[in-house]
């Protein structure tokens, strides 16, 4: 696994090469960079914004692109109401603009196709982004382990990457999805309609006996609930990897 070299951990200027809205509040931004030699699925980048009087804000965003991408990289950003950075990235950043970017970063929450274990992905909301990188990486690989995604969204319109996920299922290469919607479902919905809980996890995850590797990403309380349930279902902690988005429960 390539470890990040010091050069790649410096700030560089990334140019906005493409913009694509995924849902009404979620936007994918593609960047081209002077120096990028690839990344592992699950890694992230830091971005840094500077005002004209020198104030700086930094944030981390997971890479959505498949591992190994060289030419362009993508992040997918959810607009947080009253946020400082996400409204700027999702509403004002335009084609050709540049921002400072550092990465790829992080080797803990990563997956690569050399790993033959069944792959279990569990997420809520914008936590899907690093897991989508894993799925896109898997699609490009020769060896594709059995993979399941359990994906919680507020409603149908807010399912990020919905069409692409449907297409991945249609390739019938051992990938399946269970969706759950927590705030209302369309008329013909045949997915789940509640928050992820122990019963849902027992139903949709690989049994511990199959020794899957589990990746859980989302808001802190979601991740903690899911991780605790997976342990209760018999999965060793060493095969449960977590990435928490959002503050540790507090609101401002």
């Amino acid at each position: 696994m390539p470890d990040t070299s010091p050069l790649l951990r410096d700030w560089q200027l990334a140019s906005v090469a493409a913009i694509r809205d995924e849902t009404p509040s979620v936007r994918t931004i593609a960047f081209s960079l002077p120096q990028w030699t690839g990344h592992l699925a699950g890694q992230h980048v830091d971005v840094r914004l500077t005002t004209d009087d020198g104030y700086q804000a930094e944030r981390s965003y997971s890479l959505a692109s498949p591992g190994g991408s060289i030419a362009l990289i993508e992040i997918t950003v959810e607009r947080i109401t009253d946020g400082e950075v996400s409204p700027f990235l999702t509403e004002q950043l335009a084609l050709g603009d540049t921002i400072e970017l550092r990465g790829p970063l992080g080797g803990y929450f990563t997956w690569s196709p050399e790993n033959p274990a069944p792959l279990m992905l569990i997420t809520g909301g914008s936590g899907i982004v690093p897991l989508m990188s894993m799925l896109r990486t898997r699609t490009k690989a020769f060896r594709r382990p059995p993979t399941r995604l359990l994906y919680s969204s507020r409603n149908f319109e807010e399912i990020i990457y919905r069409s692409e996920l449907d297409r991945l299922v249609e390739t019938k290469d051992g990938f399946s999805i269970a969706h759950t919607l927590t705030r209302g479902a369309p008329v013909n919905w045949n997915g789940e309609t509640r928050r992820v809980d122990g019963a849902m996890l027992a139903k949709y995850t690989f049994p511990a006996a199959q020794a899957p590797h589990n990746f859980v990403c989302g808001p802190t309380s979601f991740v903690e609930t899911v991780a605790d349930c997976l342990v209760a279902l018999g999965h060793p902690e060493t095969v449960i990897k977590t990435e928490r988005f959002g503050p540790t429960g507090e609101k401002r």
Partner: protein, 205 residues
């Protein structure tokens, strides 16, 4: 450093009397929550405040006893070392002067205090920074009980110093003989910490 076109951030010094802002700060209308650990949620029936020296308890108040002490209201600006300032914040609580009086202490037993909080946070203070109305144990912000995320049920308030000294979830004031560093001070934040002298880090003048 490259400027990001169109990025404004969430703060503004426009329309602000510049002599109210210490050097390097910007004014915010928000009240940012910064924390070194999970929010502490001590119910008032389990809450108490203690003054101690060494192993000796000098004074101890339950919540009811504490609320019955002389209350003081104060409107003041606050300054965080992470560069935000907030003007005209309104607090109510018990000044440290009144606390010492209620404890029967005509003079503070030492020159230095370590504040201890639920969750383990600590900060060290000079007694001179706590007396003469400079500091209080605050229980109300904007006329309402301080929310737990902002340090409720009670926090230290020492607004002439950077706000990390206004320790949230304070439970114990320990009089000590030497000025030993607390949680952030031991990481290099300046032992004295005056925003108007811009003393943020050890090594600043």
């Amino acid at each position: 450093m490259p400027i990001t076109r169109g990025f404004k951030g969430k703060r503004s010094n426009a329309d602000t009397a510049l002599d109210r802002i210490p050097p390097g700060q910007y004014v915010t209308q928000d009240f940012p929550v910064l924390t070194a650990g999970p929010t502490q949620r001590t119910p008032v029936e389990n809450w108490s405040l203690t003054l101690q020296r060494g192993g000796e308890k000098l004074a101890h108040w339950s919540w009811e006893q504490f609320e019955a002490l002389q209350q003081t209201e104060r409107t003041t600006d606050i300054h965080c070392v992470t560069k935000w300032s907030k003007f005209d914040t309104r607090w109510r609580g018990v000044t440290i002067d009144d606390l010492l009086k209620a404890a029967g202490l005509s003079a503070p037993p030492t020159q230095f205090v370590m504040a201890h909080c639920d969750g383990g946070y600590t900060t060290n203070l000079l007694i001179a920074d706590l007396l003469d109305g400079k500091a209080m144990i605050a229980t109300h912000y904007d006329n309402l009980p301080i929310p737990v995320t902002h340090g409720g049920p009670a926090r230290l308030l020492v607004p002439h110093l950077y706000f990390w000294k206004s320790a949230k979830w304070v439970r114990r004031l320990e009089f000590v003989d030497a000025n030993k560093p607390g949680f952030w001070e031991s990481m290099g934040y300046h032992i004295h910490r005056d925003p108007w002298c811009e003393q943020r880090y050890t090594g600043d003048a």
